[in-house]
């Protein structure tokens, strides 16, 4: 059998038998299944939730705010003076009270008093007070339906159209972002894990001097290609398992839980681009890892050097909040084209705004060119430094040897 194939098979089998790999591959679908199950049992088994009524006090210095004192689960109790309300508060008869000052109708200011330290007024309290004031102000002035409409939150339904005016298949929203967001993180972890295995494998073989036995049987190209392909295929299996489980999990979640899960969508080309960017991202990082593995005197030092470039993988995730607020920021174009950040940047952007075809083309072209260049340099480093044990070359030496080959 071809020796590259033998090394490929050995590395692949070795990688997929690792406990870390098996746990990482299975934990994602298993955790998702578990979450769906828990959510299902909690939502169906718990029965209707018991809503506790809260009583809050108020002092009406304007007069006339005496109707609509039940706002959802909040009961409003009137006090004649602020002193009475304060006494009730400090005796824990009411958890809080508010005062509608005499000049409320001209200033719009309402004062709230509470014993609790809080960052801001809870939303349900604000809504209850606002609706209480609105209802009392408008009663008799407009029909009750109008009051109800005013109090209801705005129900804004946005529809995205295509350039031809038809309703687009992808409507956007957070439902579209969930899967790419989670997948980006998993992709980055999988790429990082594959690189760690590669550097660790090379470092171990170098440290144990097994590399000499291997090189007396095969050449450097066979060894490197076999290793990179073997570990890359193992990583790809992991990504494919995750990707394949996504539609099944989504179907399961939307059929059993419905609601928000039903709104989750996979962006177009997501699975294809996910696989393409994994392959290219892995090839690039594997070449970098092989270079690092060759230069590092030990497996441990190699692993310490990996974060230099694997951290770059996570950069788009650090800036993801900016993406959500400013999806068209030029930073995203840069991260899409820069080869190490491209896999994650593209995955995230697919879920938010999509990526223009030209950007994808440039990004893929830059990645392919980078892979060729880095692979070329990595093979040189591999040849020069693979047999240097316990000695860390200086940067000057590395650059000189890369130039001379």
């Amino acid at each position: 059998m071809n020796k590259t194939l033998l090394i490929f098979r050995h590395e692949f089998r070795h990688a997929i038998k690792r406990k870390g790999f098996i746990i990482m591959t299975l934990i994602v679908p298993v955790l998702a299944l578990l979450a769906i199950g828990i959510f299902y049992f909690v939502s169906t088994g718990a029965g209707p939730a018991v809503v506790e009524t809260t009583t809050i006090g108020y002092v009406d210095e304007v007069g006339g705010f005496d109707q609509h004192t039940t706002q959802g689960n909040i009961e409003l109790v009137s006090f004649d003076t602020q002193d009475e309300a304060t006494a009730a508060l400090i005796n824990y008869d009411v958890p809080e009270y508010f005062v509608i000052p005499a000049d409320y109708t001209s200033t719009g200011v309402v004062n709230r008093y509470t014993l609790t330290r809080e960052l801001e007024t809870p939303q349900n309290i604000t809504t209850a007070i606002k609706n209480f004031l609105t209802s009392n102000l408008l009663t008799g002035e407009v029909p009750p339906e109008t009051i109800e409409l005013v109090e209801k939150p705005l129900a804004l339904v946005t529809t995205r159209l295509t350039e031809t005016g038809e309703v687009a298949t992808e409507q956007g929203g957070f439902g579209n972002l969930i899967i790419p967001g989670i997948f980006s993180l998993l992709l980055a972890l999988s790429l990082q894990l594959s690189c760690v295995y590669l550097v660790q494998g090379l470092g171990d073989e170098k440290e144990s001097r097994l590399i000499e036995v291997l090189l007396s049987s095969v050449n450097t190209r066979q060894l490197l290609v076999g290793k990179v392909l073997g570990l890359g295929t193992a990583g790809l299996v992991q990504v494919v398992v995750w990707l394949a489980s996504l539609p099944l999990l989504l179907n399961l979640a939307s059929s059993t839980l419905g609601g928000f899960f039903g709104a989750i969508q996979l962006p177009a080309n997501f699975i294809v681009l996910g696989i393409v960017y994994f392959i290219l991202g892995y090839a690039l990082l594997a070449a970098l890892s092989a270079g690092v593995g060759a230069i590092s005197p030990s497996a441990r030092e190699g692993q310490q050097l990996i974060p230099i470039f694997t951290l770059l993988l996570f950069v788009p995730l650090w800036f993801s909040s900016i993406l959500f607020v400013f999806p068209n920021n030029p930073l995203w174009k840069v991260l899409t084209i820069f080869p190490v950040t491209a896999p994650i940047a593209v995955m995230l952007r697919l879920g938010v705004t999509g990526v223009a075809a030209w950007e994808l083309a440039v990004s893929l072209a830059v990645m392919v060119l980078s892979i060729i260049l880095v692979m070329f340099l990595a093979i040189r480093a591999f040849r020069v430094y693979l047999l240097m044990y316990g000695k860390r070359p200086r940067w000057g030496e590395i650059i000189r040897s890369l130039k001379s080959g």
Partner: protein, 297 residues
């Protein structure tokens, strides 16, 4: 056909010339000693022979051809510092590394059983490498080196760290390989080990050849004009003996240029001296090495 032919190889690294114009050949059916102190250039020479690194100039041929994938299958190499896949079992390690030498899985497993039994390691077959002692690991690596029936076996410091029992086991297996007509290259800095195993040697120092040729011829070339004697009785004055050196348990008699050891032995016997040991003093390889290096410096 020669097993190995090395012609004027040179290899320099940034700070030094590790191998400087070295030439030698190794025939099939011989144990060839590559000897010299630490840092002499032995391992670099072996790595060039194994095509792990390329020489700056000069060339190496193995069985008459440049080293390629097919030729690599004819080689067995035990590097100086040993290592195997710690997480794999003994059998998995042997079978995988044998497959890289062109063996199919079935025959590799069968041969592994045979060699494990021969070395008394069959009980470790399913154990992980990390569970073995260093010496045991070394035996497994020796099995990996010879499992594919190589025509050329290169052993770099094969006995380092082995106990006497395992050292003897490996020595007997090396002799067996030679008797099967294989070429064995044995690299070491422990010159005493070479004396009992090797047919021919290359002694290197600072990357250059110091001595090269048949071991017995070299030793006779450096044989001194003295004999080592352990006796009972009174020695007295002996004609032809110009000096005496007392050692622990024996005496060294230095002969004049005209008297041969045979003549001295006859004189001793004629005087009725009881002789427990009579040996023509031959310098050890270590002494020869020191003499040669001293001469050059």
């Amino acid at each position: 056909m020669l097993a190995v032919e090395v012609n004027h190889i040179v290899k320099s690294f940034t700070d030094k010339t590790a191998v400087d114009d070295l030439s030698f050949s190794v025939a099939q059916g011989e144990i060839f000693g590559l000897i010299g102190p630490n840092g002499a250039g032995k391992t670099t020479t072996i790595r060039m022979m194994m095509d792990i690194i390329k020489p700056d100039s000069g060339d190496v041929t193995i069985f008459g051809e440049k080293l390629g994938e097919a030729t690599k299958n004819k080689l067995g190499y035990l590097p100086e510092e040993r290592g195997l896949y710690k997480k794999l079992s003994v059998l998995e390690s042997i079978v995988y590394l044998a497959s890289l030498k062109g063996m199919d899985k079935q025959s590799a497993a069968e041969k592994a059983d045979e060699l494990l039994e021969k070395t008394g390691m069959l009980a470790t077959k399913s154990k992980k490498i990390e569970a073995l002692s260093r010496g045991m690991g070394q035996i497994i690596q020796f099995i990996v080196t010879i499992i594919h029936d190589p025509k050329l076996v290169v052993l770099d410091e094969p006995f380092a760290g082995l106990d006497p029992v395992n050292t003897e086991l490996l020595k007997s297996m090396c002799l067996e390989l030679r008797n099967q007509g294989k070429a064995v290259i044995f690299s070491t800095h422990q010159m005493n080990q070479v004396e009992e195993l090797c047919d021919r040697i290359l002694m290197v120092n600072n990357g250059q050849a110091v001595l090269y040729g048949d071991l017995s011829e070299i030793r006779s070339r450096y044989r001194g004009n003295s004999v080592l004697l352990d006796f009972e009785g009174k020695l007295g004055e002996l004609p032809g003996v110009t000096g005496k050196r007392q050692h622990k348990g024996y005496i060294e008699l230095i002969l004049d240029g005209k008297t041969t050891p045979k003549q001295l032995l006859e004189r001793l016997v004629s005087r009725g001296i009881v002789i427990n040991r009579f040996e023509v003093a031959t310098p050890s390889l270590n002494e020869i090495f020191l003499k040669e290096v001293g001469k050059k410096s």
